[in-house]
Symmetry: C2
Subunit: 300 residues, 2 copies
Amino acid sequence: MRTIIECVPNISEGKDRASIDAIAAAVRGVTGVRLLDVSSDASHNRSVLTFVGDGPAVRAGVLALFEAALSRIDLRSHRGEHPRMGAVDVVPFVPIEGVTMADCVALARKVGAEVAARFQIPVYLYEEASANPARKNLEDIRRGEFEGLAKKMATAGWTPDFGPATPHPSAGAAVIGARMPLIAYNINLATDRLDVAKKIAAAIRHSSGGYRFVKAMGITLEDRGIVQVSMNLTNFEKTPIFRVFETVKREAARYGVAILESEIVGLVPAAALMSTAEFYLQIEGFKPAQVLENKLRTEN
Amino acid sequence: MRTIIECVPNISEGKDRASIDAIAAAVRGVTGVRLLDVSSDASHNRSVLTFVGDGPAVRAGVLALFEAALSRIDLRSHRGEHPRMGAVDVVPFVPIEGVTMADCVALARKVGAEVAARFQIPVYLYEEASANPARKNLEDIRRGEFEGLAKKMATAGWTPDFGPATPHPSAGAAVIGARMPLIAYNINLATDRLDVAKKIAAAIRHSSGGYRFVKAMGITLEDRGIVQVSMNLTNFEKTPIFRVFETVKREAARYGVAILESEIVGLVPAAALMSTAEFYLQIEGFKPAQVLENKLRTEN
């Protein structure tokens, strides 16, 4: 069976097309790597690359990415709306096929150590790769950003997992780790009542007592005159999409509000939709090998 | 994009292992063909082969199958519980990926003409490949079986689509066509009342006024003390699995009966489960390219 790991590095450059193209080209040039997407946001001054390959290929892709980014990005002159503390800010490895989370954790540690040694950049491990509960969430690690990094690194508990105990002058520090695929999932409500969307978001998100792997907020879609519960599902195996949907539906009904529709933004793993079909159809004993396309794939 | 057509020929040999193996080997030996499964039933005295490939590969696979089967199967001495009128009895082509039903219909006609010319076997086109409403259903074409074939072929309306106007002495006639993938789908009810299962089956199946692409019957699962609505869904795009499930659930509720569980027997196309998730989650504007695995595949 083939091995597919997805890597979704975020770099602190979203305006200079020549720099972005050069960094993307460095990744694309690595044998065994397939660069699927590059999305840049000028106001955030940040780009997100998505590439896949087996372990050795994505490792080489990340090293090529750092090499290309370090000569082109200087955080001392970087401005943008999105928080950041590194030229290469975050590098998550995501298990997709024929590979476990433990494999991705091991890869994150190996690549983290290599990046630190080769480029003299402090590296923090995050999410599944973190061994330290206080340094699991990206937001906690990045708080204070590049400008506050030297001071933060000097305080207790913030020695990096790999590399020097002080920031790289132009590149800050990097956060490397492993996580499940994210699903960006929105549910539109048949109402213009923002308070309802906000109450539902609060009911389902982890930070205020909801599901462990849900981030949510209520927003207004001005052009349509309706409100939306906008979510990130950070582990669809443990907090499945159908349970979130049913809970939102039930909470909305309490206010006399119906669900208008939902939407998946960007990519979704097939397994997240398969498990939804299994749930609603009450299918017992279903195996992934029963999906015709999976059978064709494994017999390749 | 790659092209995948599935071919599921039924041959009239289910006992003699040497013959079955030799026929399977002939198919497997064709370049570009992947033989996924061979299922034999001794009491039916019949085997079902499942193989995939692009158009030219499955065409060559079918010709190799006929060549190998004709020298090993003689219907004059064939006995079995399953109705049949050909040594190679039925050959459906099924569109799986990167190919339309129209492509499979064209292939069925081309291969049908070749089989008739090369082996002097009368060929009837069926299902989507049939241009004659009276000769669309396999059961209608096969009625009378091998033993009644000479008489049937002599009556008005039964001139074959290709080949001689009389049966092949040992191989009878072949039925070749194109159809959608079949889904074998069962719903178990939380009751032992067979009358309820039979009433629900009658309500949903095409033959008694139900959905166009549902075949259904009510049966008892003796070992479990419950009943089952046992179904074949013959076109999951036009009669989707979720609509069948919801209708069975509603009809059962009318008798105070709940659905215990459902089961998919054998293979199911991913699209049948994807559309189920879309339905229940009320997902708008979803595209197959959003499924991560599809994206990986198309970028290969």
